[in-house]
Symmetry: C2
Subunit: 382 residues, 2 copies
């Protein structure tokens, strides 16, 4: 291929991946436009002469706030905005206090006292960031605290008009933060709580799909495509995103079907159970390997109870998932779990009469028990 063709194919590839990223989740495109909108709104404010004269250079803090605070979810934006506002206020007050203290030490002592205070506060606040609970919820606030405190002590040493500066800065941060929040809530909002709800529900759905596909694949029914057997892999690594969404959801006001203090922790528990179930499915999956040969005769004897177990567990998981989506009690799931429990008993009987082990079938048992635990937890959530 010549260099022109190479370049062309490269551009085509990039265009394709841009299209794919946008298509996978159209809200990404909307989010990008929202950031552009918020930023343009704030700079319009900056362009209008009367307002500019009131704030001067401090106006750029509004722009800075928009860029740094605007996040994909409403919870993210609110959490960063509130963290930023509170931390600036606290650090500003402490900074002014530090100034007053330092002045008492005279012209020579002032920089030494300020330097020492800065060192102690920066080191202490940085250490705070290592606590898991603070890291999860207030990490950004602590960074802004260090930032503002050092700016106030350092600049205050020169400017001597800290109070006015602090007022300007707080006002501009307020303007920037408010713009972000308004745009992020009013224009096609993406709620972290709703995201978490959907993520957990779709994870359970994926497990159900796997069990359905496993049954078809293992007993060679061949009606289902293989794709349903891969979906569960994403459940294995979903811990980090579930936890961050859970943390952001706390910051959100009530929206849609969710109240202000929705039990988000229950979702994390449910997610953890779904993950445990996925770990077991991962083990189960290794037995689909065609290299492992078994006696077909034996397999037939186990076929009936195993089919019932996997299809009933799958139905139960689907019922849980859809009852989560509609936010009703999962009554249908209950009878499916009962069915699969009776199938487990049938299997045990079959195992006792026939002699020789079949690891695949045994491996389904924990899946069924997990499904029944899942069901109990779901009742508490809804």
């Amino acid at each position: 291929m010549d260099s022109g063709g190479f370049f062309k194919s490269n551009v085509m590839n990039v265009a394709k991946s841009i299209k794919k990223t946008g298509k996978d989740d159209p809200r990404r495109v909307i989010h990008s436009l929202k950031v552009g909108l918020a930023l343009t709104l704030v700079s319009l404010f900056y362009y209008s002469r009367p307002l500019y004269d009131g704030f001067g250079v401090a106006g750029m803090w509004a722009v800075l706030t928009v860029v740094v605070v605007f996040e994909f979810t409403v919870g993210g934006t609110l959490s960063k905005g509130l963290n930023r506002g509170c931390a600036t206020l606290l650090a500003g007050a402490l900074g002014v206090g530090a100034q007053h203290l330092a002045i008492a030490f005279g012209k020579k002592g002032e920089p030494i006292v300020l330097g020492a205070l800065l060192f102690i506060l920066a080191a202490g606040a940085t250490f705070l960031r290592f606590f898991p609970r603070i890291k999860a919820r207030y990490d950004y606030g602590v960074v802004i605290f260090i930032l503002t405190f050092s700016l106030v002590t350092v600049s205050g040493f020169r400017v001597n008009e800290i109070l006015e500066l602090a007022e300007q800065r707080l006002l501009t941060i307020l303007i920037g933060g408010a713009t972000c929040m308004v745009v992020s809530i009013l224009v096609c909002p993406v709620w972290a709580g709703q995201e978490l709800h959907n993520l957990v529900a779709s994870n359970i759905q994926k497990l159900a799909n796997y069990l359905e596909g496993f049954q078809a694949e293992y007993f060679q029914d061949k009606q289902k495509s293989k794709s349903s057997l891969q979906g569960y892999k994403s459940v294995l690594g979903s811990k980090a995103s579930e936890e961050s969404l859970g943390n952001l959801a706390r910051w959100e006001p009530g929206h849609g079907a969710f109240r202000l203090r929705h039990p988000w922790k229950q979702y994390l528990k449910l997610g953890a159970l779904a993950r445990e179930c996925a770990y077991k499915i991962e083990t189960l999956n290794t037995y689909l390997n065609p290299e492992i040969q078994e006696c077909m005769e034996l397999r037939c004897k186990f076929e009936e109870p195993c089919k019932i177990m996997s299809s009933e567990s799958s139905k139960a998981l689907k019922a849980i998932s859809s009852s989560m989506k509609t936010m009703t009690a999962p009554s249908a799931a209950k009878c499916h779990i009962e069915n699969s429990k009776t199938a487990t008993k049938l299997l045990k009987v079959a195992l006792e009469t026939i002699s020789l082990e079949d690891a695949q079938l045994i491996a389904i048992i924990p899946v069924v028990t997990i499904a029944s635990i899942l069901e109990e937890i779901t009742k508490t959530v809804e």
Copy 2:
């Protein structure tokens, strides 16, 4: 308890958790002191009159850079510093270009053209952040790009001395960034690469401990404590931290036993295999449940091969882990894996002679196969 006592016990609790956090990893305390040191150094620079006169208010950008750029690992600091520097340079140049373009449209067209350009660039750059590869490595750079571009276009509209401002800002960011890098590399450095190496090695060690503990627990030897059976749980959720360390390690120069282009991707693959192994152990672990009753007579028949399998796999994993630490080829691991493979064959023979299944024993088989895959991968790493 009276309110004074309550307050006292609260303070005691906080003090305890501070002590624990510091003791768990003393480098956290050192890191906090390093941040304090870097910040004090930069503000000392700000306090010295001759330098201050040269930079004016721009000096605060050095402080800002230190607070935002300084990370726990050297890789994190370098990645953020380089991202910040390059993004500021690029966005500054584009911002000046945008100004020149806007001026050509006359006094009235200027704010409209600038606003449109700002909207397009901010939306485009925000969209870029959704690409996983850019998100992992250049996320911070893109944020700084939007920030700098909007500051230059917005403030330039007023100040008309952009070039001088840009020069000052770049210089101060350079000073702040250089201070961070020097302090983070010279004072007790924490290398992301070394961290990744240790994390993967200790994860493999944890799996080995589990298998050792499992053997003792399941066959009631009772010599080992139960604590070794919990360690593997942390391996299950190690994906996110391994990936972020892997990304940061790319930014680091050669250090210790690691060259500049060390094959960090191999560590991620090894980590993924260790996780797969941990998933299987998670399933195995459910069989330790005392509620599940089995025939003791049967168990005795399987005891010998199973003990060999778990102890030899455990030894193989330990050998891999320690050969990683010393960075030598894992020759000892090979013979342990051979031993456990022969034990697997013994088990199969035992199973064929005796009739009735024992799921626990079958569940060990995949662990052994994973151990042998692990061994092959390790050879490619070292």
